[in-house]
Symmetry: C3
Subunit: 142 residues, 3 copies
């Protein structure tokens, strides 16, 4: 089986400085709502004061949360914006690192920003997540 | 010595949902072949059921494979498409993570997709890999 | 508080092959200077012969360096170019990996390139870093 894909038209692009003390993912969603963005990809870097990561159990088909109550660099952040039940959802994965360089990574649910920088490429199209049977995740029907 | 670079013209861009149960890298190459893409960069995120990563031994100048037969998140995926012996090759690096957030990373040779999302930016130009003496790798003469 | 952001106009885009034996970050800054780039985001992948990473101590507000004198893959590199005291500065985060897949990550200050591939998206605007009180970092007033 081949992958599903759709050609998109890049419309607007943005650089952002995330607000200190606020949630990493929530800010991206607030921004998307304010700008009417219904499809985008983004990359970013920075640092956070703490983070909650999720791991998806592929057998139980449930997210398993992990909390890291410590300052961490955001060594990499890759994600996208699409609609989930009509609202912008920022699907966000990140790799975080400590003073000794050691890392933790996963699906970033929330994190308190220390400092953060983002590039967002928004598309003309709207992408909507719908329930996918084999994975029990909300994915794009492209 | 300065880095070699070439200005490129972005032509088309795509969002994709990788097919469950199929190979991560192979799907990107099949897509590139189907769309006639000879140069692109991509970023992605998702989860896989297993992965084979390669590490390049800079002294022996050979790839050293590692197999991870376990479910892993794709916390980050950065790569590009160019031509290798006339066929699209997806040079793919990834950071993968486990239930406890611990990570493994490297050159992603293959991985069975659980779910995956990709942004691809294709260029008008064609990039071709040719053998590079000092590294014994196939690189771009720009 | 919401995040600060600015819509930017993508002007030019580049693919690059980093020079073997030279500094990863320095080459990006030399390139930006040569091309007159005052704002850009980039992603990349490759391998290095060694690396110096920095971790920002959020309490002491000082960078804490770590040296890794070993060959490492660049599993992920995300960064941007903007002006710091009038000169192009490449803010660069990276995730690096070893033969067994184990990783280190952080703010990449310097690294000797073995091989590297980069995509750079340059913007028409100029971004300048200025001192930020709460973090003691140089950030963008957007």
């Amino acid at each position: 089986m081949d992958m599903d894909y759709r050609e998109v038209d890049g419309t607007r692009e943005f650089v952002a400085r995330l607000a200190h003390g606020e949630d990493w993912r929530g800010q991206i969603e607030d921004f998307a709502r304010a700008e009417g963005i219904k499809a985008a990809f983004f990359v970013g870097l920075g640092a956070v004061q703490n983070a909650e990561l999720w791991y998806y159990d592929q057998d139980d088909q449930e997210y398993d949360p992990m909390e890291f109550d410590e300052p961490l660099e955001i060594a990499s952040c890759v994600g996208n914006v699409s609609l989930l039940e009509g609202e912008p959802f920022a699907h966000t994965h990140a790799v975080l690192s400590r003073r000794d360089g050691s890392t933790v990574a996963g699906h970033l649910d929330s994190a308190t920003v220390f400092a953060g920088e983002l590039y967002v490429r928004a598309f003309e199209q709207s992408l909507e997540r719908v329930h996918d049977e084999p994975t029990d995740l909300d994915l794009w029907p492209l």
